[in-house]
């Protein structure tokens, strides 16, 4: 994927570019808002990572300008402002996701993959999700592993649905908390882990191959086999 990073802080930019290249993306960098807006508007990037505070043109203006001109490039806004209001403003300007500094690179990468995947529109209208022999019927609200029917509580169902929609990708604890519980703060405890382990107990039994994997230092990943 071709990603544009608009970030004025040289250290943060270097750190982002290095990580994104290691993850297999082609990265361009703009150090100020004016250049960044020009590049974003003139080149067909797959994704945009933009800092909120930038010289010349700020991040929110870049995003809203792109959106006003019909450019739907998946965008993550980075910011040092972390309150709910700031976040709401960021998303209202047209950002697909909003990440508060400081963040771990794993968190950024997981969120970037999620917005890139979402923009490709995969699975948005599916009625059945499948990963290996795990099958989720969204209309019938039922889940099967092979021939075994699995009984899930509503919250467990939503948790699994989110993991399945992002199958093969790392999802972080905060991403799960935001999407499954719809609250926006860092819960700071292992509550999410307990939910995952309970879900894992129902999905992965001793006879089958484990599907829910823990990714150290990042979060979780639902995939057919260890790659």
């Amino acid at each position: 994927m071709r990603i544009l990073v608009i970030e004025d802080d040289a250290d943060t930019a270097r750190y982002l570019i290095k990580g994104l290249r290691e993850a297999g993306h082609a990265v361009d960098h703009a150090a100020n808002g004016k250049d960044g807006l020009f590049m974003a508007a003139s080149e067909p990037y797959d994704g945009l990572i933009v800092d909120r505070m930038l010289p010349h043109v700020d991040g929110l203006t870049i995003v809203s300008t792109l959106r006003a001109s019909g450019n739907a490039m998946p965008t993550i806004i980075l910011s040092a402002l972390g309150e709910v209001d700031d976040r709401v403003r960021g998303l209202r300007a047209g950002g697909d996701d909003y990440l508060v500094k400081p963040f771990s690179f794993a968190e950024l990468l997981a969120r970037l993959e999620a917005v890139l995947r979402r923009s490709r529109g995969s699975g948005a209208t599916d009625t059945v999700l499948r990963v290996a022999d795990l099958e989720m019927d969204l209309l019938g609200r039922s889940v099967r592993r092979g021939h075994r029917a699995i009984d899930l509580k509503p919250q467990e169902f939503r948790l699994l649905e989110y993991l399945m929609r992002n199958a093969g990708q790392v999802v972080t604890r905060t991403m799960l908390f935001e999407h499954v519980w719809d609250y926006h703060f860092d819960p700071q405890t292992n509550v999410i882990d307990v939910h995952i382990s309970r879900l894992r107990g129902k999905i992965d039994d001793a006879q089958s191959v484990a599907l829910i994997h823990t990714v150290r230092g990042a979060g979780y990943c639902l995939r057919a086999s260890k790659s």
């Binding site: 972390g82 209001d85 919250q155 939910h195």
Partner: protein, 457 residues
């Protein structure tokens, strides 16, 4: 008090302005009185002249020529003041009696009066002429010198009065100004002392309960609030310095030690991972402090919406129930349905999550945690109760303070900010929180005001 202050004083300028306005109006009033009085006196002079002349004419009717002559001569002899002027001449113009002045050739005004220059004194002579049947004529005049005398006496006394009045106004203004400046100076002295660093100073309050006392009381109340806040900030700063020094020095030590491990990649990696954890915990503490500060600033109030509190407590129960049962504890919920509040959904949930998380953390295995949500008449009561060790009575207020930990040795988990955020969130929603004995355990009670339209919603 310095003279310079007095001259620059707004109070004095106001007093002088009042004195000037008062002086102008008094001058106008006195001027009007003066003119009226002067006219009155002049008309009296005219009346005197007219009645004297009438008397002479009556004499002529009774005694004829000799009568008039006798009267004029007797007047001439008795009137030493020379205020009166008599000219009695025959038909041919020769002097018969009276003063020596020549017959004036002035023309009479519409009232028949002549105005002649006076021989003596200042002023003028008002005169009138009468013709007798034998051709002789008489002129009777009276010096209006008295009018002038009266005028100048009037003007003198008015001038004196005006001067005294102005002196009183200016003097009074200065006195009032001095008194006012003294009270303002008392306030200024206190503020100067406070600027110099002595925050204990307070504005003296008098018994008169006037507007200066009101101002003083408000300033004192403001100072009390500021010193409370400063004490709180000082406490927090001390705590932050203390709480962050430990992880920072641990981090430093680990980084130093890892220098020695530079040839052993596995150990180096684990040292780096632990260092990142340390930094994360420091950042978490900062983040929590910033979040509390943001909540306390009241800014989140701008994005308040109608929030379903019942849904929030169900979410919290659902989120934490697996954690509780994993630790062999029981989490239960007893909530009234449809409880609404105006507020921030995220913050209310986070406050509740902090309470439930604490309760689970501090309850022994086999313990019980109960969340209750009740709608009372005037408020909503949200409780999180546990049957754990509880919180000693003398610490129940302190645990809401930033970075305070009831038992520093108990756990390294948590940063002592969870309950501070709870309190900040509750205050943001105009509620209050308290901890009571749950016998055994602790019960945290959050009282929140009922949303005005909760019955309708």
């Amino acid at each position: 008090m310095r003279g310079r202050d007095l001259l620059r004083s707004r109070a004095l300028r106001l007093a002088l302005l009042y004195a000037a306005l008062f002086g102008v109006s008094i001058t106008a009033l006195l001027g009007a009185i003066y003119l009226l009085a002067a006219n009155q006196v002049r008309s009296h002079v005219d009346e005197f002249v007219a009645s004297e002349l009438e008397m002479l004419q009556a004499d002529y009717v009774v005694d004829g020529f000799d009568g008039v002559l006798g009267l004029v001569q007797s007047r001439d002899a008795s009137d030493r003041s020379n205020h009166w002027l008599y000219l009695y001449v025959a038909a041919d113009g020769s002097r018969l009696a009276g003063d020596d002045d020549p017959w004036p050739d002035a023309t009479p005004d519409t009232d028949g009066f002549l105005t002649l220059p006076a021989r003596q004194h200042r002023g003028v002579v008002r005169a009138r002429v009468a013709h007798f049947p034998d051709g002789s004529r008489i002129l009777v005049g009276l010096n209006d010198y008295e009018v002038g005398e009266m005028r100048s006496a009037l003007a003198r006394s008015m001038g004196l009065g005006l001067g005294a009045m102005l002196l009183l106004a200016i003097g009074g203004g200065i006195l009032v100004t001095l008194a006012m400046l003294r009270q303002i100076e008392a306030i200024n002295r206190v503020t100067r002392d406070i600027m110099a660093g002595d925050l204990r100073q307070r504005v003296p309050i008098t018994a008169s309960n006037d507007e200066f006392d009101m101002l003083g009381r408000n300033i004192n109340a403001m100072l009390d609030r500021i010193s409370t806040l400063m004490d709180a900030i000082r406490g927090v700063t001390d705590n932050i310095a203390h709480d962050l020094r430990l992880p920072l020095s641990r981090l430093r030590g680990r980084l130093e030690a890892s220098l020695a491990d530079r040839n052993q990649p596995a150990q180096l990696e684990s040292a780096i991972e632990q260092s990142i954890d340390d930094v994360d915990s420091i950042l978490t503490t900062f983040g929590a402090l910033l979040r509390i500060a943001n909540v306390e600033s009241g800014r989140p109030r701008e994005s308040f919406t109608q929030v379903d509190l019942t849904a929030i407590v169900h979410d919290a129960e659902q989120l934490f129930e697996p954690m509780a049962s994993a630790e062999h504890k029981t989490l239960r919920l007893d909530a009234d349905v449809g409880v609404q509040i105006r507020g921030s959904r995220d913050l209310l949930f986070q406050a509740l999550a902090n309470l439930v998380d604490n309760a689970i953390k501090y309850t022994r295995a086999g313990g019980n945690i109960l969340i209750t949500l009740r709608r009372r008449d005037a408020h909503i009561e949200l409780c999180v109760a546990d049957d754990g060790p509880g919180i000693p009575e003398d610490q129940r207020d302190k645990v809401f303070q930033r970075l305070y930990r009831a038992d520093p040795s108990r756990s390294s988990a948590g940063n002592g900010l969870g309950l501070s955020l709870v309190r900040a969130v509750v205050l943001l929603h105009d509620g209050y929180c308290q901890i009571v004995d749950n016998a055994p355990g602790a019960r945290v009670i959050l009282s929140l005001p009922v949303a005005i339209d909760s019955r309708l919603a």
